[in-house]
Symmetry: C2
Subunit: 716 residues, 2 copies
Amino acid sequence: MTFIESTLSAVVSKLGISSAEEPPYYHPLDPLTASEIARSVDAIRHTANGARLWFKSIQLVEPPKAILVPWLDEYAAGEAVSRLDRTAEILVGRRHSKGADWLVYQISLPETGSSQIISAEPVPAGQHVPPDMGEMMAAEEALLNNPTFKAAIAKLDLPSNAKVVADGWIYGADTLDATPRSIPFMVYLSFSDNPDTCHYAAPLPIVPVISADTFELQRLDYCPIYGKGDKTLLDLDGRFPWEAYVPNEYDQNIRATAGLSSREDIKPYRVLQPEGASFTLEGRVIRWQKWAFHIGFNYREGIVLSDIRYDGRSTFYRLSVSDMTVPYGDPRAPFHRKQAFDLGDIGAGLTANELALGCDCLGEIAYLNFDHFSQDGSPTLQRGVVCIHEQDDGIGWKHTNFRTNRPSVTRSRILIIQTIITVANYEYIFAWRFDQAAGISLEVRATGILSTVAILPGETSPHGNVVSPGVLATNHQHLFSVRIDPAIDGHNNTVVQEDSVAMPFDKANPPSDNKWGVGYTVEQKAITKSGWADAAPEKNRVFKITNPNKVNPVSGKNVAYKLVPAPSQLMLAHPESIAYARAEFGEHHIYVTSYKDRELYAGGLYTNQSNGDANGLRSWVARDDNVDNADLVVWHTFGLTHNPRVEDFPVMPCEIHMIHLKPNDFFTASPAIDVPASTQAFNQSQLHNPGQHLQGDNDIEEKAKANGLNKQGCCA
Amino acid sequence: MTFIESTLSAVVSKLGISSAEEPPYYHPLDPLTASEIARSVDAIRHTANGARLWFKSIQLVEPPKAILVPWLDEYAAGEAVSRLDRTAEILVGRRHSKGADWLVYQISLPETGSSQIISAEPVPAGQHVPPDMGEMMAAEEALLNNPTFKAAIAKLDLPSNAKVVADGWIYGADTLDATPRSIPFMVYLSFSDNPDTCHYAAPLPIVPVISADTFELQRLDYCPIYGKGDKTLLDLDGRFPWEAYVPNEYDQNIRATAGLSSREDIKPYRVLQPEGASFTLEGRVIRWQKWAFHIGFNYREGIVLSDIRYDGRSTFYRLSVSDMTVPYGDPRAPFHRKQAFDLGDIGAGLTANELALGCDCLGEIAYLNFDHFSQDGSPTLQRGVVCIHEQDDGIGWKHTNFRTNRPSVTRSRILIIQTIITVANYEYIFAWRFDQAAGISLEVRATGILSTVAILPGETSPHGNVVSPGVLATNHQHLFSVRIDPAIDGHNNTVVQEDSVAMPFDKANPPSDNKWGVGYTVEQKAITKSGWADAAPEKNRVFKITNPNKVNPVSGKNVAYKLVPAPSQLMLAHPESIAYARAEFGEHHIYVTSYKDRELYAGGLYTNQSNGDANGLRSWVARDDNVDNADLVVWHTFGLTHNPRVEDFPVMPCEIHMIHLKPNDFFTASPAIDVPASTQAFNQSQLHNPGQHLQGDNDIEEKAKANGLNKQGCCA
């Protein structure tokens, strides 16, 4: 046992944490285990040379497709599989007084023998590594103890009971010149000793900027405090009517203490699964209703779904949320810098909530843990970062024979793989949904607390909405990039754009093939070179990911899955702006690129303070290479332009957005046709207090009870 | 007791049916009760003059708004309310050998005393009354016994085991000239004695047309049987490879008999509500989670929701699905006539399924019955045409304090008012959803069986998809018109269109108010004259129904509800086609008209065989009258262009579409902020077999159990 391994096991036993390591199961896409993390760290300890090693990311390098695909096919065929060698990648810094040198190591992790450094590359000049929780905390401490900052605060004549709270945020590039790696702070007031008080209801119009290297104060930015114009606190000698702020609490305990009662008329609603859930987990491979796939998880993307097969047929090689950008629409400094890349800058894995039984889902729930690390490289465990459960999704399909009055009805059961991330003030809920009709959906719920700034009471802004006295919630966008790596009955696919188009018609001289003007046809356009396309709901535009080598025997058309793109508004920032340049996935709804190993992050490898040369999606599209009957990747950009409502504060009710991947002539009939009938015997629903419909309803109830038949036989 | 009343009570006791009549409760919008129907019929019996009276519709005339609003306000205020006189409207025909004369009667139904004819108006010349089940059945019988039809079938050399099945359909206008009222039949083959066999998998390329007046055969239309061109069976001497048809069954019993097993790995999933549902019903007035409204139901629209208030504040006066059109895209005769208006031609009330306990929903369910009538005017009862239940809709809102790691999380409970209609081969599921954040959504699920026609095996069509051997499912559209009669804090409202628009930017000379090119603003345009507008997702276009007389004290903006229009493809039929003229609501997403009593049906009063002069939405818009700070109605057209997949056969998995009405600065904070925390103690979820995560998961479980707290305190 190496030094680090013994230290690790000591730590593990001391903390009483469990490793997510899964000895009985092996899959080459499983996240690094605690001991693999330890072995990786172990391999580079000696490179410290007395400097302080600061670990940013330690994660699995997924095997190249050329190596992985044969393995997956053998595995799917139930053959004995060999163990593929594992490789870890470490992003680590050597911190010194002036800053830090950042390097990327690749470490081989042979099953036996010690780990080895394969390669070591410095982070390219001009690129900035992302911040991390350790840096954020250190920077916050440095800020709150900084005399210049304290003096500036002292000038503000704050209420005696006000405490300053500072949230580390993301610094956005505002020039093409390299800027020192910086952490801006959104500063607020707290009027309570309870750390869960909603300080976002009392913003301070000051943005201090701290060096992410030295943690020194770089400068203080003062924010505009009128609805229009650039006047700041400095123009008002620091005067602001702080007393205008009112509590706007969300925490149920705080609300209760303040006498704000919760509604009491919502009765218990429980999901009971007497025979358990319908899925099985072997390690991180899940099997449910003809579906089988691997559930990976990493620091940056969070959930990664791989090798997705339905009834043994390959559908998708890899699905993940690749990146996202959140640009704000208030053009006034320093607000113009507010453009977060929550995945690239911080990481969906790093910020994943530890989900708790029965709080975030109902029914029988499985949780997946994640072996992680702290900045010094010691292993940590994130519990329940992924939850897995089934959900009833209403009627799956129904037909009633009007002659016999006999309905055939089924319920739609779905499988949900969910993770929830907290990015300072805001939350995203990512849920992959699998259904019995062989469809896959990604549901994104946007919730959490708006990023707020101060505005003089009585003022309104053209760039946002006042959501609490003195509190402006700025208009902004959320643009997600979903990476879809298809394998529709094989890895050589073609994306075909399909529009529904009216046939030509001239009332005076009706064409013989459209005499009455009602005809329409479907216009197809194959995307043969890497490029982009946009949603066009007015044309009923869909994108079919086809396998040009496989024909559906019933329809005579190529087997396919279709993507109905969400036609959300795209990037509002001007095409010549840096904000636009940075969002390499923000200008179109659909991108198609040729597959290349490790091209995973649409916004580029280093989005933090990026200025548009991040070598991301835009450059891959520019290759103009063949994507016809080829191994390709589809990228879908969608999201929401969020102009806040007062109703979005203090915590925003979930705004729900979904995209769908549906089989289209992939099967020879409805794949859900064999779902058993929905019956009262199976569902055991209850009749609501019959009230005024006593006779009729009892009748329904008795019929339902009597030998499991109701009058229509739907419960046969 | 009048003659008809005694007959009625005899019938009632004989059939052992229950009336939906609700003595203890009274509401002026309650549907006609069985005895009101009887009294209405009673009032016109004497007009028969020996002819056969044929009743098409008998329904409540809703009181004029001027009379109803004061009543509703008193009722909402809990004051003692007077009983408003009731009026029924009857559409009835006097059938004779040559056809029938159709009249519309208004009948007064005073609380005491006998019913009286208020008015009698003939159906305008050139307008056609809708078909009804009685006519459909009579026509079907006439067709199957018709010698000409039988002779034509005999020529086809059908397999000996083949039986002919004929589904009555809707006849579409193909000229502006009046055409006799007709019923076309879609004819199929059945190869089984079981009436639930799927005959839609064996279409016959013949469309016989029967007179809806005399039930005589008008003619036989032969259908094209190639993918392109007009060649019919006549061109092939009636030869068609009938043996190409294969069974494509959906009925679970038939499938079981045929050895087609249903999947067996889906385990029970039950919704338990140990303390019952959270709603209360008084008659047809429901109260749930600060919501209160009346649930009406009628022959044509089905569910009608009225007087919708949240926390005592008025939001909407009336919500309903007003009409829909389903035009088909195959331009070849006789297919070009396929354009159904399922509400106007048939009726969502008439075709509503009788829902059965536990087959169509889970949990504790309430059902509403509907007093209806048969063609001879005798009362009937439709049981369970509306079901009411709660559903868990996932996380309502969540925020985790990254400092304390304490999450505040709530679940979203929704109330669902649902009806399901069967229109011959096809089904629609309409569900109004009310949430705890004061939002209202309409969910439409399209399911059922595609309307199929014959196509020679091996052929493919530019106008549809082959979904089973020899079976073509034609491309078509479903366009719904939802009628939204708002009362946003009062009846004088204004609709404002709002786009999110980038600010001007010039990189060379950045404007001082948008130096970095990231700024955007919201462009508002009030709709002041009756007119239309279209969805524009690329501009993030929303429509706010505002009350210009009420200002939100927090934001300083007018209180409003916003409608995010579904940007679905609009009518594909050419603007100069009859099909387009008939769909008066098919050309735009949004229409705004001034309120007028009884302007309820977007497609006009008589859509059957209408040819574009139906006096519907188009003519109301043309009035060009004031809708600014006025009593107005918003009409939203949305739907789906449905190019069938093989996966949509034999029964289509639900295609789900939703529209949302959300408060926008209507409240002074999130209306859902007082929803109690989601806790394991309340939800009682179960942990999935821990598998490889034993220690970690047990830990989660124990923490959750221990005094109802999990490690994050979310279950506090």
